[in-house]
Symmetry: C2
Subunit: 454 residues, 2 copies
């Protein structure tokens, strides 16, 4: 048994491998990598140069190298594949499930795609890949694999097992056998367990479960993930509008979808505009970060122009300037909190959402409580610290108003974005803080002007 | 076939059910809920009062009601279970997998736990539950179920199938049959597919795959999730330090772990200190939000005190106050960006992390580029807008410094938190913005003071 802890990548291990590559010692490389999980080989290749990696992949069987390539992240894979001839790529794709093969084809230069598909030996696989290429990547059809085991409802268990035997080569994990009629319409499923436990002559008809949950080819990946999570499914069949069985989605792909969605949300909330990671280039990292920084900067410059209008007031009561950061920070914090609570409930869509009015009433009640506490403490502190009564009043009144307005904005913005099909996580990032900074300044200086000159 | 779209919860449906509950029409209730997935019944109960829900659950078989209770969220479940007698709870637990049963027991009042376990009819299940109670909820042992199918390495395929038949009642999804020796030491696994395809007389010994990935009972849930994701596993066996097979973790539990971790991170980044949702009470929502708002408020008050030191400068150059929001907002945005990039790479732990020095160098390079662009644009804008040269210089110099410092802080803070076992997402929230607000003010007014009087 190989426990995970037992495979440890050491510097020595890597150096020995690199030495073997330099000496073209294929036997050593094969022996060393024998029995190591392809996912671990992928990790090793991340430490190698493109040429070294190419050498290792050439030495391995196409069956193994295909899995290794499949386990790489997109960026690294694209870099590696540039060194492969179309024929070599097609030999690897031949070994992969159709959904994984399609993902890789989608990353190839447009001009190579057709040739690579034409070169795939297994013609059924090539046809499957062509079928799948029709779908967008983020719908059920784009996630599904064509490989699955299905049985006609009129077969016997014996015939079912024959079919599994026939397909065993192509389908790595079976989960369920899907039951269809003569028109390939999905009728239900039967678990491997039931097949094992049934007598050979029993008909599929008398064995199968007709309450199978299926998704349609054009269902959004987010909804597919939610359904698989809710019903604890490890695979879900995909049907077209006529109810014909088109493929199936397995849970490992959904785990990837959930992980990617969480990453995307994190980046949105942090104001990073591209999918970057720490090991991307300085240039890519800068490009991903600048857009929101520049938007925030223009917000700041606009704020400066706005405060400039009140220059006279500041000259008269310079202490007014002291509380600018307090006002803007509170607005930002309240806004982010509000929108992240909306994000949470958008993620766990419930069937009966409260009405908009009920939602907003609740949000404002919470804001009222938060606002009173914050404004109250600040009032007390300011008086203790010997701040002028009128200014203390201005600051607390402005804070209270900002908490209310920022709560409202933070709640409404993600709902509006979501309605228009834009990722609502955008609202829980620099977008809302920039907007709330300006809102806060507007409130603060208006209240001040009113109380001093009003 | 039941497609997901076909089960739609309508108001009419709910009202009919509620009417039936009022009239105690058990037959109608049973017929209506017949064949509806327990997860959907859970959704229905969310719309009912506790008494109505209790009535529905009483009408259902324990087998179904157990699944319904299992599919509820923790808060609702705790509320419902208060209405059940210990005997009733034990009858439901009797129907659940040991891992789910343990989760529910952990939510019961301490005084009831022992009695509920003692009342469980299936003594093996009760023993399994007691075993599992020993583990923390967030390690492999706390996630695993005791229900699994195992086979002795010396058995034949026929014996294996007999064992599956014996266990079929208890194990809902089999995935793999785990292969052990006479001491229950895990040796490997054999897939159901291979068992189906093998002849009856073949020995397990000649069939099984000895390269199984297993996790130890005390492995953290985050690491378990990462391993199952990396190797695309749908189930992973759990062993103790001696290598004995203790249980197995299935992918549905890991999907829940990943979803919860993402929610937790979102709340941390938004400065929400408790696990709240939109439909929690106003009081709970306020309590979850106030702590970080108050911390931010004290940050703001401290900032006010600090700016107060420079009152004379503001009197002299009131325009200095105009740029306070620009400085603090930029610091906040840069800080959040930096820490979220670190979060990302902490989530996808790679085997060879770059050295700390290399990381920081890169961060500072990116900051340098960002800083030059931002400071440059602001300089240009200020000159175009007719701002005094010296002030424009102060603002741009301060901005540049703030970008550098905030990048550094935003990178180091999550790394330090992580080192001390604190969730690093804390660093990508109000924590870093508050700290960077103060840092920004310090830099801005120091630079200004220096350039005007230095």
């Amino acid at each position: 048994m190989e426990k995970v802890e037992q495979f440890e990548l050491s510097k020595e291990y890597l150096e020995k491998l690199q030495q073997a590559i330099k000496e073209m010692d294929d036997v050593f490389i094969l022996n060393t990598l024998e029995g190591i999980n392809p996912a671990d080989i992928s990790t090793i290749l991340l430490e190698f140069s493109t040429d070294e990696s190419k050498y290792v992949l050439d030495v391995l069987d196409y069956e193994v190298s295909a899995e290794v390539i499949n386990d790489l992240d997109e960026d690294t894979r694209a870099k590696f594949l540039k060194n492969f001839k179309n024929k070599e790529i097609s030999l690897m794709l031949n070994e992969l499930d159709s959904d994984d093969a399609v993902d890789i084809i989608n990353e190839l230069p447009l001009k190579d795609r057709e040739e690579v598909i034409a070169l795939i030996e297994n013609k059924e696989k090539a046809k499957n890949i062509l079928d799948l290429l029709r779908y967008e990547e983020d719908v059920a059809g784009g996630l599904m694999a064509k490989e699955l085991v299905k049985a006609n409802v009129n077969w016997s268990v014996r015939q079912c097992i024959e079919e599994i035997r026939r397909q065993a080569e192509n389908v790595e994990k079976i989960y369920s056998v899907y039951v269809v009629d003569d028109q390939n319409i999905l009728l239900g499923r039967v678990s491997l367990k039931r097949i094992i436990l049934a007598e050979d002559h029993v008909k599929v008809k008398d064995l199968y479960d007709d309450e199978v949950i299926a998704v349609e080819t054009y269902m959004d990946e987010v909804d597919v993930a939610e359904i698989m999570r809710k019903y604890d499914l490890d695979a879900v069949p995909v049907v077209n509008v006529q109810g014909k069985l088109m493929g199936r989605i397995t849970i490992d792909d959904i785990v990837d979808v959930i992980t990617e969605l969480a990453e995307e949300e994190r980046q949105m909330m942090a104001g990073i505009s591209e999918d970057v990671e720490e090991d991307d280039s300085v240039w890519m990292l800068t490009r991903a970060r600048l857009p929101w920084l520049i938007i925030g900067m223009f917000g700041g410059l606009l704020g400066a122009q706005f405060i400039g209008v009140f220059e006279e007031d500041i000259l008269l009561v310079p202490a007014m300037a002291f509380f600018i950061p307090l006002i803007t920070a509170t607005g930002g914090n309240v806004g982010i909190q509000s929108s992240s609570i909306v994000l949470q409930s958008l993620a766990n869509k419930s069937v009966f959402d409260d009405s908009f009015l009920k939602r907003i009433t609740k949000v404002l009640l919470v804001a009222l409580l938060n606002g009173i506490v914050i404004a109250g403490i600040v009032m007390g502190m300011n008086l203790i610290l010997g701040q002028e009564m009128r200014l203390a009043l201005v600051v607390s009144l402005a804070l209270f108003t900002v908490v209310l307005l920022a709560s409202f904005m933070g709640t409404v913005t993600p709902l509006v974005l979501d309605r228009f099909g834009i990722n609502p996580a955008l609202a829980a990032g620099p977008f809302i803080t920039t907007a709330n900074d300006l809102l806060g300044l507007l409130v603060y200086f208006s209240v001040a002007h009113l109380l001093y000159y009003g």
